[in-house]
Symmetry: C2
Subunit: 341 residues, 2 copies
């Protein structure tokens, strides 16, 4: 007894089984209208009988479209990137696209560049770059020939599409809220140097302070981690006259809260604290954190919209039109802020 060739069935096998040509099978698979109903049924029956599954690789080779999108991101373990990617993936799949992810441990132009190249070789139809560092943005300078791309929070350049959250606006919301509560000024624990978010939030905070004619204290530099917030919080607790703190993200705000609590400083009675992001935990911090909410999901969806639009444009030979989509943050008031008495 010879073992039958243990090969997966291909289109030709289905064609033979159904008594049609392989092209007809292809038509059925691609929902081509001009196929008689009974032929279609016969082909479909053959497909299930044989357990046939089409080979998208072969299809991609001839169509020159892989229906795969690449995503380059920094530390997908962080809530922000993770949520953005989740939104991207959901939107992409809904649109019939796969998502291939490269998450970078360290960011610099070379790294990002290499990741994009890597994805381009793989034949992705477009890429989303979630790498909000200034140095990463440089990698978008000259993309592989004609590769549609969209950046999240990327850059201010005009020749690449961008989806971003209005960081300045968010920071202003936070700062003004604190000022409205009667605080003389607001201290800031910033994100790491080189991040676009850091800069936006810093600027927004400063602008709000200056608009109100208030003194602008020296910001404390952090790195997004709770530990950095904790260290900053210890410094803040040791200083005089601090009544309001705006941390550049919720995790650092958590650290600040912790440090303050250890030093016996009561929040919000003695010091008010505001964060940024609205991670799921924030509502349950001690006290529940007042923060700026970013809708990462929406960002992810927008990315795909913009990218697909760009891919379409490319196919139809139109000149690329770069878009810039700004998502507005909202403000969530909880219990970590209070009026100055």
């Amino acid at each position: 007894m010879t073992t039958p060739k243990r090969r997966l069935p291909v289109m030709a096998d289905v064609a033979k089984e159904a008594g049609v040509s392989h092209q007809t099978v292809s038509r059925v698979l691609n929902d081509h209208p001009n196929v008689r109903a009974d032929t279609r049924a016969r082909v479909e029956a053959a497909i299930t009988r044989l357990g046939y599954r089409r080979n998208l690789v072969a299809r991609a080779l001839v169509t020159k479209r892989s229906r795969t999108l690449g995503v380059v991101s920094f530390d997908t373990t962080l809530y922000g990137p993770a949520s953005t990617i989740y939104g991207i993936e959901q939107a992409a799949r809904t649109a019939g696209y796969f998502v291939s992810i490269v998450s970078l441990k360290t960011i610099d132009a070379d790294n990002v560049r290499a990741a994009i190249d890597y994805l381009a070789e793989q034949g992705v139809d477009g890429v989303v770059v979630v790498a909000p560092q200034r140095s990463a943005a440089m990698a978008l300078e000259n993309l592989p020939a004609g590769l549609p791309a969209v950046a999240v929070e990327g850059t201010h350049r005009a020749d690449v599409s961008i989806v971003c959250i209005d960081q300045m606006e968010g920071a202003k919301l936070a700062t003004r809220h604190l000022l409205d509560q009667g605080h003389e000024t607001v201290w800031h624990v910033s994100g790491p140097h080189d991040w676009m978010e850091t800069e936006g939030r810093l600027e927004g905070w400063r602008a709000a302070l200056e608009e109100a004619g208030r003194p602008v204290p020296e910001p404390l530099a952090g790195d997004w981690s709770p530990r950095a917030g904790y260290e900053a919080g210890k410094s803040l607790a040791a200083m005089d006259g601090v009544t309001a703190v705006f941390a550049a993200n919720d995790q650092m705000a958590l650290g600040v809260l912790r440090a303050l609590s250890e030093k016996g400083v009561r929040v919000p009675q003695q010091i008010s604290v505001v964060g940024f992001d609205d991670i799921p935990e924030s509502e349950f911090f001690s006290p529940p954190l007042t923060t700026v909410r970013q809708d990462f999901d929406v960002v992810g969806r927008h990315c795909i919209e913009v990218l697909l639009r760009q891919i379409d444009l490319q196919l139809n030979g139109g000149a690329s039109a770069y878009e810039r989509l700004v998502v507005r943050p909202s403000f969530v008031v909880r219990s970590s802020t209070a009026r100055v008495r």
Copy 2:
């Protein structure tokens, strides 16, 4: 002036440019040893001159290996899955593989099955299924013909490889720690029904209690969210004689902490709380959380190791040998637990 054909260069173009055959170009690209150094140099020069990038899709078509791995996961926004996937991605890329991700919003066998099929069509060389629900595990029953797969926390079945964390052990660690501190018994806030982790932690907790001959209180069912922990915490605060709580994850522990704090119950003086996961925030909770650490990174790496081994085996025609890799959790003592006075 006619526009030159705006086509990306292919191997044949490089071959012509370098004055060799396309095969030689292929050899250079694949580091074949038998190429003279100067030929190699000439080819490489031609490649950079033309800006050639090879088409991995075409390569995949003939080699029948896409060097892409599929990952199916549930809610990649959660810390656990996100970290696992991060580990998977890093390990895969190091091994020269791409990672294509499908993250599911809701889990059931059909969903998971469809995702796996989807990836199989795309031609992935293997899949990792990070879907630790019992219902999801069923989707691993009969995989697409010969598709190498590995499950994270998947199932107890013998015909699919599994990488998991010893949940029971972790739960025992937590429970025993509390018992050692002099608590009469330990209450448990469990994860949602149907999750493997929920069951493992529940079992471990119960076993530790029974081993010590202690009463086993009715567990409070949660859903991993801080809010569920918060609700459970309120119930716990209203009950008599509760001195120790083991929450099935850190987020729920955070909720418990919050509820207790609102009710004026002091942790750890009146009630001790232990979590599970060791998310980055835990160290900065109020109070810093004693918890069970899971090394998701290691899990991710192991997944890839096992999967690649399986892919290799398949190529060499060996019968598949299913592996079961158990990663041991560790215990982190912080300030949310104390001796009973």
